[in-house]
């Protein structure tokens, strides 16, 4: 996918003489050295990355690691000390103030602030419509749009409240709604959910993912919460002392932390070692049997809108995985034949784990070759018990998924799929 934002060697020093600090940094001095010797604060140093179109790119790291600073550099709320920021081919560090303003209106105005920055003299509705108002959108239109977003963030009924009457979480939602109301293609969200209680927070995260599904914006999301980062981020950049120490998908970061700092971070999520495949698997939506003909299998795939299907014997023994696309091609090739038989070459070896495989190993599979298709969970006798899809895996890692919670217990027992012959129970115990 094409790059929406490309950042090259970006640095920001807060102080009177950034060049001096940058020079010292190049000579290997640390952030602390520079603060002590020069009384200058290094916010971000020599950061390069790119963000793809319609990607959620998460910046994460400890407090003071430079996440907010980096995000604010991208729309030049902070003036970069050096480096380039190229948005859709335009180096915005070179824009004059008028062009920058127009550029912000066009691309950036969906910004959500860590400290809310809600205007105290305006009602909720007036705050939410602020961005559109600045752009001169007429009143009826912007009010309509604002009300719609207010509903999404769950502030309905508070349209005419003043900010002083709202709780922190509500204020955060006002800031969120204000950012969502303008139809900017880039959203900059700084700890946009941090002041929300866990329930609303999860709700807002899901809402964001859903919105993103529809609107396909490019989102740079700052958080210091690893769970949130893994849940939302297509890719995650981990920051430390003003630098990016690792960029990758959740799986890559969990399975191959770049250094001890990242490892310490990830170990915080020890759930991945506590949880097992059995706790997060689902019963397979639909399985094919070895005796099914290609056309039957294709129909099952179609009916369930799958990208592929696991093939098992009537005794639930796992035989392989058939990819929808290959199967369709095979059928097309043999269209003229009345009765085509299943070709063994269509069967692939699926990624396979046992019910008691720890999740961190499951994650490893994802970062390897098995990027496609579900992971099959079997018992030691190669009998299919369930499947793990990526979404469920990440969700399990993200949400506080406690295996000892009774409501999760049922997940360990896949419901029998209707196709299963009655006799399968008996053959299992044999």
């Amino acid at each position: 996918m094409e790059d929406k934002i490309v950042v090259k060697n970006l640095s920001k020093v807060f102080g009177k003489n950034p060049d001096k600090a940058l020079k010292a940094l190049k000579e290997g001095k640390s952030k602390e050295d520079i603060l002590r010797d020069q009384k200058q604060m290094v916010g971000v140093y020599d950061v390069s990355f790119s963000v793809k179109k319609s990607e959620i790119f998460v910046l994460m790291g400890l407090s003071g690691s430079g996440k907010s600073t980096l995000q604010r550099l991208i729309n030049r709320l902070h003036e970069p000390s050096s480096g380039e920021i190229i948005v859709e081919g335009t180096d915005i560090t070179k824009l004059d103030s008028k062009d920058l303003r127009n550029f912000r209106r066009k691309h950036f105005c969906g910004m959500v602030f860590q400290n809310f920055a809600v205007l105290p003299h305006r009602t909720v509705l007036e705050n939410v419509e602020f961005g559109l108002e600045l752009q001169g959108v007429d009143k009826d239109k912007r009010r309509e749009k604002s009300r719609e977003i207010i509903k999404i963030v769950g502030l309905e009924g508070n349209e005419n409240s003043m900010p002083s009457e709202l709780s922190g979480g509500m204020l955060q939602r006002v800031g969120l709604a204000r950012g969502l109301t303008v139809d900017a293609d880039i959203m900059l969200m700084d700890e946009a959910f941090s002041a929300l209680d866990p329930l609303i927070r999860t709700q807002m995260q899901n809402e964001l993912l859903e919105l993103q599904d529809r609107m396909q914006k490019t989102i740079i999301f700052v958080t210091h919460d690893l769970d949130e980062a893994f849940k939302l981020g297509n890719r995650i950049a981990i920051m430390y002392d003003g630098r990016i120490v690792q960029i990758g998908t959740a799986e890559e970061i969990i399975s191959r932390p770049a250094n001890d700092y990242v490892k310490a971070f990830v170990e915080d999520m020890n759930r991945s070692t506590v949880l097992t495949a059995g706790t997060v698997m689902h019963p397979p939506q639909e399985t094919a049997f070895t005796r099914d003909g290609p056309r039957t299998i294709a129909r099952k795939i179609r009916k369930n809108a799958l990208t592929g299907i696991l093939v098992i014997t009537t005794k639930r023994e796992l035989r392989g995985y058939v990819r929808a696309k290959e199967l369709a091609e095979y059928i097309k090739k043999n269209e003229d034949k009345e009765d085509i038989s299943f070709d063994k070459s269509l069967l692939h070896k699926p990624a396979q784990v046992y019910e008691d495989t720890p999740l961190n190993e499951v994650i490893n599979l994802y970062s390897g070759d098995h990027k496609f298709g579900p992971i099959a969970v079997t018992d030691k006798d190669n009998k299919l018990k369930g499947v793990i899809v990526r979404g469920a895996l990440i969700a399990a890692l993200s949400e506080s998924y406690r295996p000892d919670f009774p409501e999760n217990a049922e997940n360990t027992e896949p419901a029998e799929s209707p196709e299963t012959p009655e006799g399968s129970e008996n053959t299992n115990t044999k």
């Binding site: 729309n75 709320l77 303003r101 127009n102 912000r104 209106r105 950036f108 105005c109 910004m111 602030f113 400290n115 920055a117 205007l119 105290p120 003299h121 305006r122 602020f130 961005g131 108002e133 600045l134 752009q135 003043m162 303008v182 900059l188």
Partner: protein, 280 residues
């Protein structure tokens, strides 16, 4: 002590004369403007029957400061009329209004400018500090030098005296607007004017209005003092009372000044808090 006396007074006279001739158009124009404003305010208010004006002022007080204050205003205004000080009352009010109008026209932009430019702020601050340390009385001298005697120098002195607080507090109010709010406006692509009108001024409103309130109070005190150079109004009655040792008359005029002060204070103090009172 010294055989030679520095001819300061001659220098000043020469300088003033020079300015008066070179900038005659300015002084004449300014005088005419002040005359025009004061007379229109005054005639306009005197055109109304006293009771009508009393009810209007009471209503404004009610709207801005609640019914308790409006009762005080109503009774005070009736008293002023009753003891025959209605005309000086209106005249004083006209002088204050004129001076304050000029204060707002000049002070607000200067305050905004000072808030937005550190350089301007640095130039203005010592001047404002200096102006504030000078006793009110001293302001009469330059006013008289340039405008002679009468209501014009009275208004000019009042205007100059009442200007600093508005500039100061406008500057302060805008500078105190939380940085993140201005940043938010920036992020959403606000123009400089939009930032000022939609974020800075509204957020700084309470502070700016506190400045206006201070300015009006100072202005009123100055207008009374300006009676010494012939500005007229209630100050003239106070002055007469003092000069002729007519304690009763002087007291009456003084009391009406206090009444006017209370009304103006309550109305302008209400500016800042009104919105909250309404929404609560």
């Amino acid at each position: 002590m010294f055989p030679y006396r520095i001819p300061l007074r001659d220098w000043i006279t020469a300088a003033v004369e020079y300015l008066e001739t070179e900038f005659a158009f300015f002084f004449d124009g300014f005088s005419a403007l002040i005359f025009f404003l004061v007379n229109n305010f005054k005639d306009g208010m005197l055109f109304l029957h006293p009771l009508v004006l009393i009810i209007i002022i009471t209503a404004i007080t009610w709207y801005m400061a609640g019914w308790k204050n409006s009762i005080i205003a109503f009774l005070g205004l009736l008293l002023s009329e009753n003891i025959g000080l209605w005309e000086p009352f209106v005249e004083t009010l006209a002088l204050v209004l004129t001076a304050e109008l000029l204060v707002v026209i000049l002070g607000l932009p200067l305050g905004i400018w000072a808030a937005r430019s550190d350089r301007v702020n640095e130039v203005l601050r010592p001047i404002l500090d200096f102006m504030q340390t000078m006793p009110a009385f001293v302001y009469l001298i330059p006013a008289v030098m340039f405008f002679g005697l009468g209501l014009v120098p009275g208004v000019v002195a009042t205007f100059v005296f009442a200007l600093p607080p508005l500039i100061r507090l406008t500057n302060l109010g805008i500078r105190q607007v939380p940085h993140e709010l201005v940043e938010a406006a920036d992020a959403f692509g606000a123009t400089s004017m939009q930032k000022l009108l939609k974020v800075q001024m509204p957020v700084a409103k309470a502070t700016i209005l506190a400045g206006l309130n201070q300015s009006i109070m100072l202005g009123l005190s100055m207008v009374v003092i300006a009676a010494m150079i012939g500005a007229g109004g209630l100050g003239a009655d106070v002055l007469r009372g003092i000069q002729r040792l007519q304690v009763g008359q002087g007291f009456e005029a003084g009391l009406v000044v206090v009444i006017l002060a209370i009304i103006l204070d309550r109305i302008t103090a209400g500016f800042g808090s009104r919105k909250k009172a309404n929404s609560a």
